[in-house]
Structures are given as C-alpha cells and as structure tokens.
Symmetry: C2
Subunit: 110 residues, 2 copies
Amino acid sequence: MARSDKSALPGGTAMLVLALLKEREMYGYQIIEELEKRSNQVFRLQEGTLYPLLHSLERDKLVTARDQETPSGRRRRYYRITAAGLRALEEKKEEWQVYSRAVTAILAGA
Amino acid sequence: MARSDKSALPGGTAMLVLALLKEREMYGYQIIEELEKRSNQVFRLQEGTLYPLLHSLERDKLVTARDQETPSGRRRRYYRITAAGLRALEEKKEEWQVYSRAVTAILAGA
DNA sequence: ATAATATACCTAGATATTCTAGGTATAGGA
DNA sequence: TCCTATACCTAGAATATCTAGGTATATTAT
C-alpha cells in the first residue's frame, strides 16, 4: 500500500478488501480506485499487491470469482465475498479494534 | 509483534518503542515488558524483533545507548530518545492518525 | 547444593507482505 | 495514429517480523 513512508497495515489489506466486497461484488481495478477514493487518497493499493492478494483470498475460499465482459469487450474479473469471508472480516475487524485501541493507549502515554 | 494471526503494524513498532522512550530511558527487556503491560497483553515484541530494531534506531540516531550494570552485576543497555527521535515520533504519530482514520472510514462502509 | 526458571543481551535464517518493474491486451480520446 | 486509461497478470526485490537458536548471570525452587 503506497504511502509516504512505504509502510502498510499487515493483514489489514485483506480486511479492507473484504470490507468493500461486503457491500457488493467488485473487480480488481475497481477495488483499487474505491479504496483510494474512500480513504481520501490516504492509500492506493499497488496492482502487484492486490492481484496476488485476491488470488490468495480465492484460494482460501473467502471470495469467489467470475469473469465478465463489458459491452465494449473488456474483460473484468468480479469477486464476491463468501460466508467464510464474512466471518473472516468480522474477526479481522475485531482484531483491528483491539489493536488500534492498544496503540492509542501507548501513544497516549502512562 | 506476536498476535493471534502473526501480523503486525509496519513501522508501527518503531513508533511504539519511541513513544515509551519519550517518557524515560529504558533497556530492551524492559521495553518488551512495558509494551505488553500497557497494551493489556495485546502485543508482546519478540526479542528477535526488538533488538535489531533498537540497533537500527541507534544507527539512524533516533536513540542513543549506554551500558550499565545493576548492583547485582547484570548488564543492561539503556536507550534514550534523541531530538531527531522525538521528531520522528511526531511524524509517525501523525501518520498513524491519518491511517487509522482512513481504515475506520472504510470499515464503516459507504 | 543443585536444578530450573527468569533476566538480559544477541544473531542467522525463514517467512510473510508489499513494492518495483516489468508484461499483455483492449478502449477511448487527441 | 499515438497516447493514455483500463484491466488483468507475474517475478524478483525489499522490508518487517518471527522462529529458533546462542551466551551468560541472577533468582527461585527442590
């Protein structure tokens, strides 16, 4: 995830992608743009990050994929979240809450 | 940083360590325990993560180090944050705020 | 007294994640 | 016609963290 200092949120990328897919099925390129838009340009996934990630989510059965052509003939691969994916999302969200609260506590000091 | 799913917050570990050192100088083992305590056991740095990290912070002049023996003869290496370290901490905190707000926005949905 | 555990430092190599830097192909606009 | 945007992909590099060791002394339990 491209940010000023090159760092990212580990495991978090999958969580964000699953969160988008919870709303509706989307194709890869669209996920990148949505994520950028909704974060107000805070992060923009690199294609080299997203596509392999989608493949691993599919392998783990957290999403399913189907190909579809646009009227103009362009190929798109749509991803849809599965029941297991929804469960995984809830878990990751819970972890994120716990984690960010702990970080906040430490930053706030003694 | 040991968590249930093995993931961590990249760059975040340095931020947390610097946040502790802002309060007072500390030695490595102590940092591990303080971090665990203040996060309510949410994370516990592995020694193999912390010691190399402290060395890189020292190399980058964000901290300075000095050795000291306890009355009983045990060696401890104390780390103190530098002015550059304080600046780096403020930057990382700002990034964290921006980042966590963006994540929250995406998790909250459209 | 001795054994086991805790303290305290360290490193090398494996693993996981993301990035860089390419590649392919089509659509649409200048 | 050429350039940019769309849309997919992968290989290899870079980075961060973990695993799994190692050394040594102090403290606690047997």
